[in-house]
Symmetry: C2
Subunit: 440 residues, 2 copies
């Protein structure tokens, strides 16, 4: 049987990995897929560079549209990234009746609804395992492995750059800026790290997981995104003393009021497996009604881990493209006509517990005032940690750190009380507040 | 569209869970599957008990063959367990053109080759996600999620009973017998716990994972199986002091010489995530060439976790039964005509490192003699731990524990040296030897 003909749009880090792994494991992959899978054509602006990588094993062109126009190509793999051109090319490939595989989380988080609708209408598959958590088959687990369940929540470490930075800050007691430079030197962070450190990349991935977990449309615009740039190593140390680690989590949860969709730094109990996921590794924790808790761990980025996910999609398409399109696995796990319109909650409605650090004057009655405000706001306290006073500035004036862990409270109510605390004369600096999840 | 009609053979703990979860999550499951999934018929010897569970929502019969004979049934779910009758019923269901879902690891480990061949010839699916690691979608991950990879090894905690016992022995410093009774009281161990504590259940599951990871036939007869009944809490304590936990692992590895297929207690570095999987939880660690290390964690048993896996298979069949049978996901991940004949290695050929505990007379030169034998056998030492001498018996005779961690060595060579050590007059008791895996 003629091998499935694959066209790669883009032959950079991931594209090169896809080409290399398909070549290296060709025999093993064919034994699984029942049919050869062959990169027949690649597009890259720098044709010479592409030619150097693939030699004459594949046709090389500069124009990605030449790949889409090639009638021999069965599956188009979009690896050029970005929004506009990628969107056009994916829609053109679908219109041309090609199955599409993409690792482009940004594209799908922004334009997924349009793209999946076009694919459904045309009866082709758009697969995107590589778009979330790299080589971890988490899309497959959510879309196919847990179909019996009512999924309750997902909490994931889904950005390796920020997890590496937080691990280093904790291990070495260094501050964010220092570690970011190291991460850039080691290649764990890009020259412009904004998407990673501000949580945007994690929010793209979380948006896709939320959609397939709860059967809601892809709506990145409604995701709350808070990065790690404001974290200081002192909070990591205090958290440690209280039995917690600080991780950048993507959390999406189904509540009676609506869907939570949020990325932010978070205290997690040190004893949880996910709290012990260090360095650039990723992990996704899923809570569902029948199976209970499951966790999926692995490399979230890199050439070959990402290629592993892209090729898994190629094998799925090879195995299943003969299925009646109405009976295939739906792109977003739920049938297009059976999506839910559960609203995404504003953060003020989201309920979590909190870690608060207040820099206060070391004088009688401060704790009473602070806890009084919490009580008046109906917020109960889980734990208090007060450090010994230390000298700051002259005149023997002393101040101290007051750390408070709260029980669950609506974020809106918490913010009001924080504003009241901030107004106290004995509170000497901006209050630090980090959300906390017990994940049980 | 008419719901898929499911017939359950057996309505005990798992069958009840399947019925309950299908009922409770009916709407959500249909939104995913694109079609209703309905338990139309159940068989149980005690018809009254079955009737009490399903009321009049399903037809209830005593004879499982009446379910297979029912032309309206699309999928037969085998949940009666055991070998002979289960084998007959599954083969009869296949012959009748039904798709089959089973949670019966013992059946597949023993008769899988025959059953999958029959299913392939008939063009029906036999799905068995529930047979390995309960609710964790590990079969799907290996068979579909990692298809790009050359899988190198799998190491799993795939028996909850033994992991619970080992966790308790470690936490409470209790001995095996005591904890086993507690596990039986709590329902974590059966009245006859042999299959669990002797590693047979784990070996059944490992045999299936090995087959789909490496594309080899299911061959339980060649699995090496060693349980936890001989473990003493003192070895758990010594291992802890050396930075290790003791787990019952199922390990299958592809080497140039052949396939390792073995279940036995094992020292694992405490810092590995899998070493921190406690209580009845399961976890499977997979090493593959492109993706690197991935780990899958969750409940390995129980009514609803197992039902979660059974129903995932029902949804897969509902979604994909229209695919050309030659193009569906192969039962054992590899195409039937592309299986490998890699031989399973005898244990004497297996290479691991070892933990050795020798009870020796507290006299000069013992360590020299022992290490001399290791050196002569070409076995290098990773670490030595010698306890202070303690009084045993009268006459002021004293003895002490000598703990040795070796580097990698062939098991055959290790056994020869252990026999030589055992023959030393200063070695006062049978030598304890536990294999060790660094899992990196």
């Amino acid at each position: 049987m003629k091998p499935i003909q694959v066209g790669l749009l883009g032959l950079g880090n991931v594209g090169g990995g896809v080409y290399e792994v398909l070549r290296r494991n060709q025999e093993e992959i064919q034994r699984r897929a029942g049919r050869g899978i062959e990169v027949a054509m690649v597009s890259r602006r720098d044709v010479a560079k592409a030619r150097a990588m693939v030699g004459h094993t594949a046709q090389v062109v500069a124009d990605p549209r030449a790949v889409i126009a090639n009638p021999d190509i069965d599956i188009v793999v979009e690896l050029i990234g970005g929004y506009d051109l990628a969107r056009e090319l994916v829609l053109e490939a679908i219109a041309a009746g090609k199955h599409v595989v993409t690792a482009n989380k940004a594209l799908l988080a922004m334009h997924g609804t349009e793209i999946f609708a076009a694919a459904h209408a045309k009866g082709v598959m758009v697969a995107f395992e590589a778009a979330v958590a790299g080589g971890i088959p988490i899309i497959k687990a959510l879309r196919e492995g847990l179909t019996a369940n009512r999924i309750e929540w997902i909490a994931g470490i889904i950005n390796g750059t920020t997890n590496f930075i937080l691990s280093e800050m904790r291990d070495k007691g260094l501050d964010f800026g220092v570690v970011l430079k190291e991460a850039q030197r080691l290649g764990y962070a890009e020259a412009d790290p904004t998407f990673d450190i501000e949580g945007v990349d994690a929010a793209h991935k979380l948006t896709l997981m939320s959609s397939i977990a709860f059967g809601i449309p892809v709506q990145f615009g409604k995701a709350y995104t808070e990065g790690i740039t404001q974290l200081s190593s002192i909070d990591i140390r205090y958290a440690e003393q209280l039995g917690y680690r600080i991780k950048l989590l993507g959390v999406t949860k189904r509540t009676s009021a609506g869907i939570e969709l949020r990325v932010h730094p978070c205290l997690v109990p040190s004893k949880r497996l996910i709290a012990n996921v260090e360095g650039p590794m990723n992990a996704v924790l899923v809570q569902a009604d029948a199976v209970g808790t499951t966790l999926y761990y692995g490399k979230g980025a890199g050439s070959e881990p990402t290629a592993s996910a892209v090729i898994a999609d190629l094998v799925d398409i090879t195995r299943l493209h003969t299925a009646d399109p109405q009976n295939r696995v739906p792109h977003l796990a739920f049938q297009p006509d059976a999506m839910s319109d559960l609203a995404v909650l504003p953060m003020s409605e989201v309920v979590t517990s909190f870690y608060l650090r207040l820099r206060v004057a070391d004088e009688a009655g401060v704790l009473t005032k602070v806890t009084g405000l919490l009580a008046a706001g109906g917020i109960s306290i889980d734990a208090v940690l007060q450090r010994e006073a230390d000298q700051v500035g002259g005149e023997g004036a002393t101040s101290t750190d007051l750390i408070i862990l709260t029980h669950d409270v609506k974020e809106g109510a918490m913010n009001e009380v924080i504003a009241q605390m901030q107004a106290l004369p004995s509170v000497l600096a901006p209050i630090t507040r980090i959300r906390k999840e017990e994940l049980n």
